[in-house]
Amino acid sequence: MTTNDHAHHEGESYFDGPPGILAKVWQWMSTVDHKKIGVMYLVAVLFMFFLGGVSALAVRFELLDPVRTVETLNEAGELVQHTTGQRLAPLIDIMSAQNANEVYNRIFTLHGALMVFMFIIPSIPASLGNFFLPIMLGAKDVAFPRLNLLSWYIYVIGCLFGVLSILMGGVDTGWTFYTPYSTTTDADHWRVILMILAAFILGFSSILTGMNFVVTVHKLRAPGMGWFDMPLFIWGIYATAVIQVLATPVVGITLLLLIFERVMHIGIFDPSMGGDPVLYQHFFWFYSHPVVYVMILPGMAIISEVISVHSRKHIFGYRAIAFSSLGIAGVSFLVWGHHIFTAMGELAAVLFSGLTFLVAIPTAIKVFNWIATLYKGSIAINTPMLYALVFLFTFSIGGLTGLPLATLATDIHLHDTYYVVAHFHYTMMGGTVMAFMAGLHHWWPKMFGKMYNEKTAMLGCIIVFLGFNLTFFTQFFLGTQGMPRRYANYVDEFQTLHIISTYGSWLLLLGFLIHLGTFIASLVAGEKAPANPWGGLTLEWETESPPIEHNFHHEPVVTHGPYDFETTVPPHWDPKDFPLPENPSSH
């Protein structure tokens, strides 16, 4: 049982363990404390983000020139030959690729698989969610602490499988593993199977986390916390967890069938045996469309928190936002077809097109509510708030550019072009990653007990914002003008826009490096963080920063709503530092 683990260090912060580095490592590796596990997730996820980012930079670099691939690789070889006497085997040999384009194909597959399966799906729920969901509920831990640790280990094993298959040369199937290409390419190697297995295993980790969170929200709310007293972050994570539980098993069986397809040609997805490749796409997107809401819902959840706390304003339309989260989770199972409009029958295409618009409505409602929350607030301009505003900017673009992709006539033109690439980067990166950064800066003092340098962080935020838009806004025009996805070479006309996009990617790199420096500096020499630096009202601000072993000295009792800034002085604050309006509006 977990009791013996919880017995000792009462009152200490969660991360000062026993003396001795080995003892510390063992304590972390064997911990069932959701906070430690959250931090472990954070580290792993950020490492995967780094790998995926490197491959993204490689992709962008390749696209500097219409027919660069061959030259680049030869140049690389000769360059080394000039400096050192002997010619280094160029990348093409290292990856044991047939030709130069295959290297590019493997790198963008690498980017997709890393970013989707290993970074963005677990990013917010598994790291920030793990850390803050129980605290915000006023619980000591998640429902199943050991399951929680297990899911982290499963996640790491999955990542290891993926990295192993990359070290064996990487796969060129594209992260969607479309048959029959994925069942026939590299047929004499098993690195493809390794990558599929990686996705399969990561699915289990995702399922376990989801189950854990759903049960936690249902059973471990603090006394006095009804469903509608929960912070919206919890609502978002809850909707996410529901999707994780219900959608991920389907991709499990899909990838299983895919593996058997490769090993023994069972033929279900294989046109050469009477199977149907489009059926695979149905199987895959039944999971992978809901999963894009696994990616974005936690981001939306963070934004709801950040905006309301930093503008000291009750979130506008609490129930609307809460229900729209559930609505998105529900509708997300109805719309997967819009990924395969160009492969489907006409009737199904029309059906899915109509249903797809449904998902836009709750999303729009959320954006309206967030902006309405700013009205008459007391808005602090700091990094979390800045990132929240960046989110509102980029995510609105991402959402609005989704409309032509739900509209049949235009989607037939834009499908599989750079327009789509730009669109989902505006939602995934401009949405989830920006929200992730917002949440990271919002909760960093709470997680590590150190403040960070506000100026450098804001500088990094601005540079990331510029770099991001420079990188991806150009790609909308590339797409509409006729640049297909996943092209290693392209016609000369598109070069200008591609060059701009690549420069933007370097700017992005700079921005994230600044953030990295800020965080390291904060960990090394940051000043001690107060328990409640922003004046938040949710429960995580009542305990110390960093939180103690069991989160709270006494089980908290919820006396005020999470957003009652008009009537409540936040914990650890002096009323004169936190002026309240004289005549709070009646509601």
């Binding site: 004499d188 219900l246 389907v250 040609h265 046109p271 050469s272 045996m273 149905h282 199972f333």
Partner: protein
Amino acid sequence: MTNHDTTNHEPHAHGHPVVSWQIQLGVLLVLLFFTFTTVLFYNAENWIETAFQIHLPWWVNVIGAMSIATVKAILVCMFFMGLKYDKALNTFAMLFCLFCVALFLGFSMIDLDTRDRVDTWKKGEIVLGGTGKGLNTPSIDPAFDSTLSPTINTKGLSIVEFNRQQKIEQKGSEKAYWKYHYKKHPDHRHPADTNNYFATLGYDHQINLPDANKAVPRTGLTPGLFHATDPTTDPTTDPTAQADQDANASTKAKSDDTGKDHES
């Protein structure tokens, strides 16, 4: 703990209802009864089919079996898994999951069934049974899999046709092959038996009662199953079409309407 309706239950195990053994045994017996029923239903249908040559439409069989299975599943969930006495939340979780399953099946089938709504030629496969091309890929790396997946080149035939051709070569002559075949499956003429060795080898008079382990042509084959390689080409040009039709002359009527049934 909220107490549930616990009529004819024994006292609670620390607040949780205990299902009485009478109920459990009764449920088991009902389940066994339903199993018997569905098997009976199935065999009755076979019997009607072969004895009276009446082909019941396909949905009779499907709806019968599946509805019985559903009833059984509900019984197991309610009593053995205790949903009847449990929190409503668990039931809700199960129901919502079934709702997702329904969406999954429904939409996928809608797409695969309605591809030919605008152009009829978008429906079918071009080469029936698959092109047989994807199979001549190299074997999986031995380091990974000791039992290699065989690398077959089916020469563009479906793998079933391919295996039959292999067997025919192995047996030397078509006649020898069909002799071998009808020794094992004497009940009806194989649709691919184009020049009617079924008759020449003297199996046509033979009528056996159905045995589930023997393939009985209960529906007959869809007209033109083996020759409509291109939906636009005229089916009647292919000799096997004729062969099929007079082979199943007795079951022709049925094969037509089943054809319609299956398409619809």
